[in-house]
């Protein structure tokens, strides 16, 4: 068998090639959704790292994305920097916030950590993103407007060049996914997993809890921030609503639903979050048998997510992807007479 990381890169490149051309024939609104799917995909990816690998619960991932979005917007609109600089600054801001959020995590676990991250999400949502004191950061009630940007020669913007934006995001997503899988298999990844399984045992084995927990939070926030920093470009402006509390809750819900330990789950989840509701609202109304008017709105989607989450947590703790994978490995293992190892796809 070829070395694991080469296989992963190859898979990533093939996936990119296929997915990059997919939205070409679709109209603008769907292209917007596709790009948005990737942004939320980054959010779920960050959860995979933080919760799936390191076992730290976090209900504020959308907040990290939002901080990066505002940071990028601020750099471009207020400080007139290039968008590339905006992305870097956005990610840096998000990472710094991640470290700050990680500090209480050093002493708190499980429920209490969830409560604190929820509180942080709410504070940013209601206060930092909306109060006039932070106008220098948020651009006031209208938020920053971004018309177009030049990323290393590729023209990207929120209406004529959405496909280019989508491709750039997709490339980054594939890259980060591969890196995350590599991380999972590396020494650092093992230490994170040790922390997830049992902090006491991990520290007994010599894992530096402080360093690795903060690292997990920082990287996770950075990943969410990478997606978020593209948001102003895709949407043309930044506002608090996409990054509010309920988005963080949705990211957590969909992440767990798809399988928070597995990277491909993030892609699925992003798609689920951004594309499915829009498809439903666009095509989900009409007349059934010429008599009954039906109208599938976003609410139905939310209900489905909630119910599926409940069902899944009761029945399939490893998520949709995790369970499919387990079955696949089980089948393969039965054929090869080898015990199924826990390794991501």
């Amino acid at each position: 068998m070829m070395p694991g990381h080469i296989v992963r890169f190859a898979v990533a490149i093939v996936a990119f090639a296929i997915l990059a051309r997919l939205p070409v024939g679709l109209d603008q609104a769907f292209q917007f959704d596709a790009a948005l799917a990737l942004i939320w995909g980054f959010g779920i990816l960050s959860l995979v790292l933080l919760t799936g690998y390191a076992g730290q619960v976090s209900l504020c991932q959308a907040t990290f994305a939002g901080v990066a979005a505002y940071g990028a917007g601020m750099t471009v609109s207020s400080m007139h920097g290039g968008y590339l600089l905006g992305i870097v600054i956005g990610v840096v801001f998000a990472t710094i916030l991640g470290v700050i959020v990680g500090l209480p995590a050093l002493r708190l676990h499980g429920i209490t950590l969830a409560i604190v991250t929820l509180g942080i999400a709410l504070v940013f949502d209601r206060y930092v993103f909306q109060d006039h004191i932070f106008d220098w950061f948020t651009g006031g009630t209208g938020g920053w407007q971004v018309t177009s940007a030049d990323l290393l020669g590729i023209k990207v913007d929120s209406s004529q060049h959405l496909l280019a934006a989508y491709d750039v995001l997709l490339a980054l997503f594939c890259l980060v996914s591969v890196l995350m899988v590599n991380l999972h298999q590396s020494g650092a990844g093992r230490r994170l997993r040790a922390i997830r399984d049992s902090e006491v045992a991990a520290s007994t084995m010599g894992v530096n809890l402080t360093r690795y927990k903060l690292l997990a939070f920082a990287m996770s926030a950075g990943i969410a921030g990478l997606g978020g920093s593209f948001y102003p470009l895709i949407a043309g402006s930044v506002s608090p609503q996409p990054f509010w509390v309920f988005t963080s809750l949705q990211l957590a819900a969909i992440g767990v639903l798809m399988g928070v330990r597995y990277v491909p789950a993030a892609a699925l989840g992003g798609l689920f979050m951004a594309v499915v509701p829009d498809v439903l609202t666009r095509y989900g109304h009409g007349t059934f048998m010429n008599r009954f008017n039906y109208d599938i709105s976003f609410d139905w989607f939310q209900i489905a997510v909630g119910v599926l989450l409940i069902l899944q947590l009761i029945l399939l703790p490893d998520g949709v992807w995790g369970d499919m994978r387990a079955k696949l490995l089980h089948a393969r293992g039965a054929a090869q007479r080898k015990p199924a190892r826990e390794a991501p796809a």
Partner: protein, 459 residues
């Protein structure tokens, strides 16, 4: 515990269900692909509606959203042999609910369709929910563009419309109507029907002086993007008119409890956070019952209700001068505090002009097609109805050769267009600002009836 085999069965069922759903969605997406993708694929994936020349297919169904991705049933943007597609987006989910504005436009279009349509073509209305969120508004604008609407008519999205008007017009889509946000008045493809909010500020300040307000307190909605220049204008004008104000409170559309706001209006001296004249009058101690004597308010219909609740709880009944104050159904809970309140509006109030033909048609259509929305009618639905009127008039004048270009031409050719309940509207080349006039209505007894107290006051 659940038996393992049962678990597996349920798991398989879930997976099968997901596969089914995924296939359905896949089919839908593919359909969108085939219907919408025939138009030229630009290198950046632009859907170049203008280059497509696909013969009108029979794929439209009777629902108003059959536009889909559009180009299969349209040979030009928004217009096919038998139908015209227009659209609009509205903040429906969230703190404000503009679904009644959407339904008002739809009622008008259904009326028009029932009378034969526009030169034989039926009108279809595509709508999107912008959720009081600037980014969702952008997504909605993208949808309007993707669905090749001929025009955007009657949109009502307090948070998002200001940003998206340039987005729409940069694709050649004319925008008719709107709330009165600044972007509507600086764009040659935007055809507003109402007064600029900026003018509201001037007009209210002048009316405050005319009514004899001596020491008003001011409360405005603070969390809509374009409000600060309007607020500044109002406060500066009050100053210039020699009316000293005591306090300005900036509230949020999502703020629930106005107890502290009312307390501050009575006792505090806050200034505007975004520019404008500072408060320049302090109520002398012990004059609480007569100072401030007026409350000048610029709020959305739901917030008025909360303000008045808090005023009632505090037992405080100053005179009220409000912009756009008159939401019929919420009024039932206003009670004493609204007696004698003045409201500033750019359209005749329907309540005391029931024989006006426009009013009769408006009330009748909404009652007939959307009876559940009748109680929600307010000043902004009058904007939407007027926008619908303007669109249909121009579209009819364009005759059978209706395109975006001819529509815009006819819109610009409108002079002295009589809406029946406002001053006549005139457009022309360049940016448009047709409506400079207000009328004042007042709540009288029996409580709950509004009557017009002035003719048109124009600036």
């Amino acid at each position: 515990m659940v038996a393992r085999s049962l678990r597996e069965r349920i798991a398989v069922a879930l997976l099968a269900g997901s596969v089914v759903v995924a296939s359905v969605l896949g089919v839908m997406t593919v359909l969108a692909f085939t219907q919408g993708g025939v138009g030229g694929f630009g290198p950046q994936g632009e859907v170049a509606g203008s280059t497509a020349n696909v013969p009108g297919g029979g794929s439209s169904n009777s629902q108003a959203t059959s536009g889909g991705t559009g180009s299969s049933s349209q040979s030009q943007s928004g217009v096919s042999g038998s139908s015209i597609t227009i659209g609009g987006f509205f903040d429906i989910t969230g703190p404000v609910d503009s679904s009644v504005e959407r339904d008002t436009v739809r009622a008008y279009m259904q009326l028009v369709n029932a009378q034969g349509g526009i030169n034989g073509r039926k009108v279809q209305y595509v709508w999107c929910d912008s959720k009081y969120d600037a980014s969702a508004a952008h997504a909605c604008a993208e949808q309007m563009i993707s669905q090749h609407v001929l025009a955007v008519v009657g949109l009502t999205a307090p948070l998002g419309e200001n940003n998206e008007i340039p987005t729409l017009t940069s694709h050649g889509i004319p925008v008719i109507g709107g709330l009165g946000t600044p972007a509507e008045y600086t764009n040659s493809l935007s055809f507003p029907v109402s007064a600029n909010f900026y003018r509201y500020g001037t007009a209210i300040a002048d009316e405050a002086r005319a009514l004899g307000a001596k020491h008003p307190a001011v409360v405005v909605l603070g969390d809509v993007p374009w409000v600060h220049p309007v607020e500044a204008n109002l406060l500066n004008r009050l100053s210039a008119d020699g009316v000293g104000y005591t306090d300005v409170e900036e509230v949020s559309a999502t703020q629930a409890n106005y107890t502290a706001t009312v307390f501050n209006l009575q006792h505090a001296h806050h200034g505007p956070s975004g520019g404008g004249a500072a408060p320049n009058y302090q109520c002398p101690p012990g004059s609480a019952s007569s100072c401030p004597d007026y409350v000048i308010a610029a709020l959305d219909p739901f917030s008025y209700h909360r303000l008045f609740d808090a005023m009632e709880a505090a037992g405080w009944y100053p005179h009220v001068l409000g912009a756009g104050l008159d939401k019929f159904n919420v009024q039932r809970s206003y009670d004493k505090e609204i007696h004698g309140a003045h409201s500033l509006v750019p359209f005749l109030s329907p309540y005391d002009h029931q024989n006006n033909p426009t009013v009769r048609q408006y009330l009748g259509a909404v009652e007939h097609f959307y009876p559940g929305q009748f109680q929600a009618l307010d000043i902004y639905t009058q904007h939407s109805w007027t926008a619908a009127m303007v669109f249909v008039a121009a579209a009819k004048a364009a005759g059978s050769n209706l395109t975006q270009a001819t529509l815009i031409q006819q819109l610009n050719a409108l002079h002295g267009f009589n809406t029946g309940w406002s001053v006549p509207l005139s457009y022309g080349p360049g940016a448009h600002d047709p409506n400079h006039c207000f009328t004042y209505t007042m709540d009288k007894s029996p409580h709950g009836t509004w009557s017009t107290t002035s003719g048109w006051i124009c600036s």
